[in-house]
């Protein structure tokens, strides 16, 4: 316990001593301001697809379409049965394939480096397909392709992550049970437009659900428990985290900027209508990990993230505090990054239900309360470190420390923002000439120039030979034969697919310099 206190809130006492007088002064003349949230302005600071109105977003969400960010399923279906390999099915699959996985036990790492693959478990009378890493395998599902869907699996006993994304866009991670999969349960990273919903994740040594460096994310209806952190939104923008049951973790909901990453900001995160209850689990985070510094008993932790809105959450029985708002300066095990802005700007605390928080808080929390003339055994909201532009409504409901200078919010609800998800982002249309050009310049130009000898013959010469026959070039480069005694034999370019080979041939035939 002592260790974790030191980890995150090392300098709180110093701040309290410094700022105590000011807090006291404010606390003594505060008056109650009651705001009616059934009326009032809506939050508009969010994000919509270009040209879309809030009404359109709501309508499309009501129709359910926006949860299907990966687009329509293709017609190809492959069935994997107990004793077979899911990975082999992925390797054999063309984009657009749905892989149905029957109940059974699978010991493998399944990686997906192609687009439009769906791995859908079939649940028979409660029996799921189980991916079991037996604490020997690293990750269960590792995808880098776009439009990836994974549903209905049970994933357990891996050492790294349950489901890990590396830059895939338009992903749907749904209805999975993830138990003790190492560092993270579900970890989409560097992706845009994704849904994580209806998953049950537990026993994770860092965050059960960790959205890292991603934009336009929806995390909803998940149960996360018995982990160091419940749901973490880190260096990400435009995320909604709603209707989740977050209990029995060391820390419940986190919005962080972690310094030293290539994406520098966390902005526009809505935490709403979540149950954040009893997050008093022992912190078993790995030494040196960011989450190892979270005091066990933290409901919501906002560190250096901007424009975080808390609305409609039930935050109860978190022994250190319901909500902690802090900055990089107060976190001892966080590095520095000149490009990372260290403060939690514009935190917006709308109406939330807070019960029984902070009954066994850390000494630094007590010191802050004392400095404001507040004794007792409760702490709902505590702020340490600068948090410019932040606001709170109906503050009289809560036991607070350090939010005396927060203003009243100029909106009372987020009803106008149903989701930040986008319609399935269509694959980028690549003109064949563009494909041909980049392949020609990126590969062929290493050996061929227009009008001279380099390693291979001049393009002019090739043009004269093949005139109107691009297919001839496309075929030749796949399996070249030695033609010229005074030139080295061309290496095969069969790693280019037929479409690219033809595109590059067509481009080559019209090069003029």
């Amino acid at each position: 316990m002592n260790k974790t206190i030191k980890g995150l809130l090392v300098a709180v006492a110093v701040v309290a001593a410094f700022a105590g007088g000011a807090y006291l002064g404010r606390a003594s003349k505060s008056k109650v301001v009651i705001t009616d949230t059934s009326a009032g302005a809506q939050y508009t600071g969010g994000f919509r697809a270009e040209g879309e109105t809030a009404e359109q977003v709501r309508a499309s969400m009501a129709a359910g379409s926006l949860r299907n960010v990966a687009g329509a399923a293709g017609s190809q279906v492959v069935v994997v049965k107990d004793g077979e390999s899911i990975l082999q099915a992925v390797k054999n699959a063309q984009p657009g394939t749905t892989i149905r996985v029957m109940p059974g036990t699978y010991h493998e790492t399944v990686y997906i480096d192609k687009d439009d693959i769906r791995i859908i478990g079939v649940i028979e009378a409660g029996r799921r397909p189980v991916l079991d890493g037996e604490k020997k395998l690293n990750d269960a599902i590792l995808y880098s392709g776009n439009n990836f869907v994974v549903e209905n699996l049970e994933i357990r006993n891996y050492k790294g992550n349950g489901v890990m994304g590396q830059a895939g866009n338009n992903f749907e991670i749904r209805n999975n049970v993830v138990v003790d999969t190492g560092v993270y349960g579900i970890f989409p990273q560097l992706g845009q437009n994704g849904v994580v919903e209806h998953n049950v994740v537990s026993g994770i040594a860092d965050a059960a659900i960790y959205v890292g460096m991603s934009d336009n994310i929806h995390v909803a209806h998940n149960e996360v428990f018995a982990s160091v952190a419940g749901i973490e939104i880190e260096n990400s923008r435009h995320a909604i985290v709603e209707n989740n049951y977050v209990h029995d973790n060391a820390g419940g909901l986190l919005a962080f900027v972690t310094p030293g990453l290539p994406i520098k900001t966390t902005q526009d995160v809505i935490f709403r209508n979540n149950f954040v209850v009893g997050n008093n689990h022992e912190n078993f985070g790995a030494p040196g990990s960011t989450v190892s510094g979270i005091p066990s008993g933290t409901g919501v932790l906002i560190m250096a993230a901007d424009d975080v809105v808390l609305e409609g959450n039930i935050i109860a029985d978190n022994k250190v505090a319901g909500v902690i708002i802090t900055d990089h300066g107060h976190a001892a095990n966080i590095t520095v990054d000149p490009e990372s802005e260290p403060n939690s700007d514009r935190v917006r605390l709308l109406d939330n239900v807070m019960l029984k928080n902070g009954y066994d808080t850390i000494p630094e929390g007590k010191a802050l309360l004392l400095a404001e003339g507040k004794g007792g055994k409760a702490l709902d909201i505590v702020r340490v470190g600068p948090s410019p532009g932040s606001c709170i409504i109906n503050r009289h409901q809560y036991v607070t420390a350090g939010v005396g200078d927060f203003g009243e919010c100029d909106f009372t609800n987020t009803d106008g923002i149903a989701t930040y998800l986008l319609p399935p982002v269509p694959p980028r249309k690549i003109d064949p000439s563009e494909r041909g050009k980049v392949a020609y310049l990126g590969i062929c130009s290493g050996c061929h120039i227009y009008n001279g000898r380099m390693i291979g013959p001049a393009v002019q010469v090739i043009q004269a030979l093949y005139l109107d026959n691009p297919q001839g070039i496309a075929d030749y480069i796949a399996q070249p034969v030695k033609k010229r005694p005074d030139y080295p034999e061309m290496p095969p370019q069969d790693y280019l697919d037929p479409e690219t080979r033809l595109a590059v041939a067509q481009y080559m035939l019209q090069v003029r310099n």
């Binding site: 990686y111 866009n169 040196g288 980028r428 980049v438 010469v461």
Partner: protein
Amino acid sequence: MRAGIEGLLLGLLSLLATASPASAATASGGGFELSQRCPPSFELTSRGVCEFRDRYQLYDSLQGRGVGGTRTSLPPHRDGFTPQQIDLGRYLFFDPVLSGDGTLSCASCHRPDKGLADGRPRSVGVDGRDVPRAAPTLWNVAFLKRLFWDARAESLEAQALGPLFSPVEMGNEPAKLLKSLNGNATYRRLFGEAFPSRQGAITTDDVASALTAFESTLVSFNSRYDRYVHGHAAALNDRELEGLNVFRSFVARCSECHTPPLFTNGEVAVIGAPEPKGRAFDAGAQDVFHAPKLRGGFRVPTLRNIARTAPYMHSGAFTTLRETVEFYNKGRGNAVPKGEQLYLHWHISSPDLTEREVDRIVDFLQTLTDETFMPQVPERVPSGLPPLDNPVRTASARPVANSQGAVR
């Protein structure tokens, strides 16, 4: 019929070959001619400048930052130089006249036969002594936002002048450099051709621009790994694929900082790598950013062509790739000197990889090799000194005079 045409065209070909400007520079006696053609992977635009083209440009990346997974676009980069500026940069790069005593060129420490590094634990400067750190590879430097191991330069121009005027590296001084270049008729003409709008004497800015132009063309995106990314599943064998998956797993976590497609995220990281025996601790980025938490921090290096650039780490503590991977596997902080308190990066963990997994990572790293667009070393450079570096230096650790008679 076809054979006939081909015979005819072969004749045409040899004719064209002799007319090529690239060979003219080396063929004729006096003249140095600057190429009018962009290097491979660059397109000559209607504005007359060379712009980078590669298949990675067909992809996107989050916030355009160029970090992610397999089919991810590249980060912002430098290009837009003319063919003449690039070729002038090449002559300068290989010309020992840039060093104070005429013994070293840029290429002495960024050697074409050593993966554009130099194969030494630490580079050797003009006086024959070790400089503090290793020469990093120049492959794909156009994509880096910060240069030097300690991330102290924010542009290639700023970087280029660093070693040039460092007394322990190339040991030149601005006035002396400009005197040599302005005193050389060939350089005066070539700078005039490369920078037609400039007037008066050659400046250090011109030198930095030309070197930047050349260095920005050192691109490597045609490795076997890249073939795999672009859709050729068979480009990597089973061992290499296994290695890729360990590399990007969240147990090893290599790809969290060595992020594809560049295999660096460009950030500074404190990993606690050791100094070779007998060398003092190197504070790295701490001094640059005046940040105690960055003590021992260094810029994450690219892993492209990593198999070509041994030894490894900022001061060459490891001679093989396997030793280097093993360092990460020996546990968080295993080489931090007693008494040093470092804020080790959170991804530096104790992954406990098996020997087999370590081997597979090394297998995978070999697939990042691609030097197909290695520039040609000029046969001669305008100063008349031997290109690349001056043999005087290799003959004696303490050269007293260069070929121009200048005493150091």
